[in-house]
């Protein structure tokens, strides 16, 4: 019973994902749903870092780019199996994250933001300039993702792949937050010195969560590359990083389902605003500003606080 209650929100998510195809009229809407799911998984990982552990990364699109280009380059030029390439991309992204994290996480606040920003920019620059393999600013096409003779193609198939991945990710994130590891992450956010004194090796935890979020970002980069069938350096650029952080903040920091809502809204908003012809950027910016002024804690925590008081605030 207790475990059912823990996953109440997850069951709703599962039900919505199951029923959604009944109301999605055409592939355009499937496409939006798929992009929402991809963003939600990246944002979830980033929220573990930003919202729960209280750190920041302004370069996370770099990791998305690593995954995307690993899936593009390794099968095309070296004949790797796409699944192997995907794994290699995630391994490379995790390794880079682990190597740079130790020195970077000695920094705090603005300095940490600058360092992660630089990291993201370096990755984006390498992708743009190594034209021999990456195709430079023009990008390159990506082979289809096949698994044991079965090829994932078309929006409907991708939808189910991502729906399953999404449910799994949210289940795993909830578990992580409800574990001693997750508690240590939140504790070092609350008071670094207190958590150290209680035995939390804070640098190790910061590194671990940075690596985990880089791993998921890279994995979703690979998925994006295979789904669209084409990658450009934009996937790794600064604006994409900022977009991801904005999703975390709008949805709600330290809120698992805030990550989902943030990703869904900010993926849908540009589409919805396209009727404003020419003014959509202004409308987009205004909505972001207003929501931060009136809901600085983000959508989900603000709404949750309306319904309940004095309970845990990390739903």
């Amino acid at each position: 019973m207790k475990s059912l209650k823990r996953h109440y929100a997850l069951m709703i998510l599962g039900a919505v994902l199951l029923l959604l195809p009944l109301v999605l009229p055409n592939n355009y809407y499937y496409d939006i749903a798929i992009r929402m799911a991809i963003n939600a998984i990246i944002v979830l990982g980033l929220n573990l870092l930003i919202g729960f552990a209280g750190q920041i990364s302004l370069g996370h699109a770099g990791f998305v780019g690593i995954g995307a280009y690993a899936s593009a380059i390794l099968p095309t030029y070296f004949g790797w199996h796409p699944i192997l390439a995907m794994a290699a991309g995630s391994a490379i992204a995790s390794a880079i994250a682990a190597i740079v994290a130790r020195p970077i996480f000695r920094l705090k606040g603005h300095y940490l933001a600058m360092a992660t920003l630089g990291l993201g920019m370096i990755i984006a620059m390498v992708i743009k300039n190594e034209g021999t393999y990456t195709g430079g600013p023009d990008g390159m096409s990506v082979a289809a993702l096949g698994l044991m003779g079965f090829e994932i193609s078309g929006e409907k198939q991708w939808y189910w792949v991502l729906a399953a991945t999404l449910v799994f990710s949210f289940w795993a994130a909830r578990n992580l937050i409800d574990s001693p590891f997750g508690r240590a992450l939140r504790a070092l956010h609350g008071s670094e010195v207190a958590s150290q004194v209680m035995g939390v090796d804070v640098v190790r935890y910061k590194v671990a969560i940075f690596v985990l979020s880089a791993f998921f970002a890279s994995l979703m980069g690979s998925v994006t590359a295979h789904y669209i069938g084409f990658v450009t350096p934009n996937i790794a650029d600064f604006f994409h990083s900022i977009e991801l952080v904005t999703m975390v903040v709008i949805g709600g920091m330290a809120s698992i389902y805030g990550s989902l809502i943030g990703a869904v809204l900010l993926t849908a908003l540009p589409q919805a605003l396209s009727t404003f012809e020419g003014w959509e950027t202004v409308a987009f910016g205004s909505i972001l500003m207003l929501s931060m002024i009136f809901m600085p804690k983000g959508l989900v925590p603000t709404l949750a606080a309306r319904f309940r008081r004095n309970e845990r605030d990390d739903l």
Partner: protein, 253 residues
């Protein structure tokens, strides 16, 4: 052998010597207090021993092993716990979760196992919840167990820090001004609590300004002034020491 031995410890910040050649030893099972006027170096001494600062010179031994310069999280593993003069409560968590953080080192902290929610992790956490509630009862916070830490009054947070430290099952507990900012009734309750902790075989090292409390509960007292050790002894010895009276009230000459 004494549980904690501090040997010629010094800490220099730029041109300021905050702690200068301080030596003392704390025997197992005692309540040992460190007193002194404001700025005497009491908190610096605590920060040196608990690994927040690295000593400039000198040595600290716990159970005969040198621990000078060891990181705080490694000291926790050796059975050291502390509270803070300026509260260090995780305000983003509930009271109970704060206490549960104290038990961090007794738990399975594996990331992958946590994500896949291995049954052992969930079971241990459930048991820990009960233990943490019990500890909150021990420090007199039964009614607060489900509260967000950010919604608790100051006096309750002071006790919450003690409960969190006790959750680590320490062999030595450093309390940095546990009664600071409390009224006399609350101070008396903290006094009683410290005694209860000491009765549970936890060695307590205490920094405190409330002299009534210090004189009441301390087995031995170390007096610091301007970073130096002024004297050390029982409550009676310290009270009658002319140097101590001079440091607190000013000398007659």
């Amino acid at each position: 052998m004494a549980l904690l031995e501090v040997d010629n410890l010094s800490k220099v910040f730029g041109g300021v010597t905050a702690v200068q050649n301080v030596s003392f030893a704390v025997d197992r099972g005692l309540v040992y207090s460190v007193i002194g006027p404001n700025g005497a170096g009491k908190t610096t001494l605590f920060n040196l021993i608990t690994g927040i600062y690295t000593p400039t010179t000198g040595d600290i031994r716990l159970d005969g092993q040198s621990i000078a310069g060891t990181a705080p999280h490694a000291l926790a593993l050796k059975g050291m716990a502390r509270t803070f003069q300026n509260l260090q409560i995780c305000m983003n968590m509930t009271a109970l979760e704060n206490v549960m953080v104290g038990a961090h080192l007794q738990l399975d902290r594996n990331l992958v196992k946590a994500m896949l929610r291995f049954p052992g992790i969930a079971r241990r956490d459930d048991r820990l919840k009960d233990e943490a509630r019990e500890l909150m009862g021990f420090v007199g916070l039964t009614s607060y167990w489900n509260r967000a830490a950010s919604s608790m009054p100051y006096g309750a947070l002071k006790r919450l820090e003690i409960a969190r430290a006790l959750a680590a099952k320490p062999q030595i507990l450093f309390l940095d001004e546990p009664a600071a900012g409390l009224n006399s009734k609350e101070t008396a309750e903290i006094d009683e609590l410290v005694r209860k902790v000491a009765d549970n075989d936890v060695t307590v090292v205490l920094v405190e300004h409330d002299m009534k409390m210090v004189m009441n509960i301390s087995d031995r007292i170390l007096v610091l002034d301007y970073g130096k050790k002024l004297t050390e002894g029982t409550a009676k010895e310290v009270r009658e020491n002319p140097d101590v009276i001079a440091a607190y009230l000013g000398s007659s000459v």
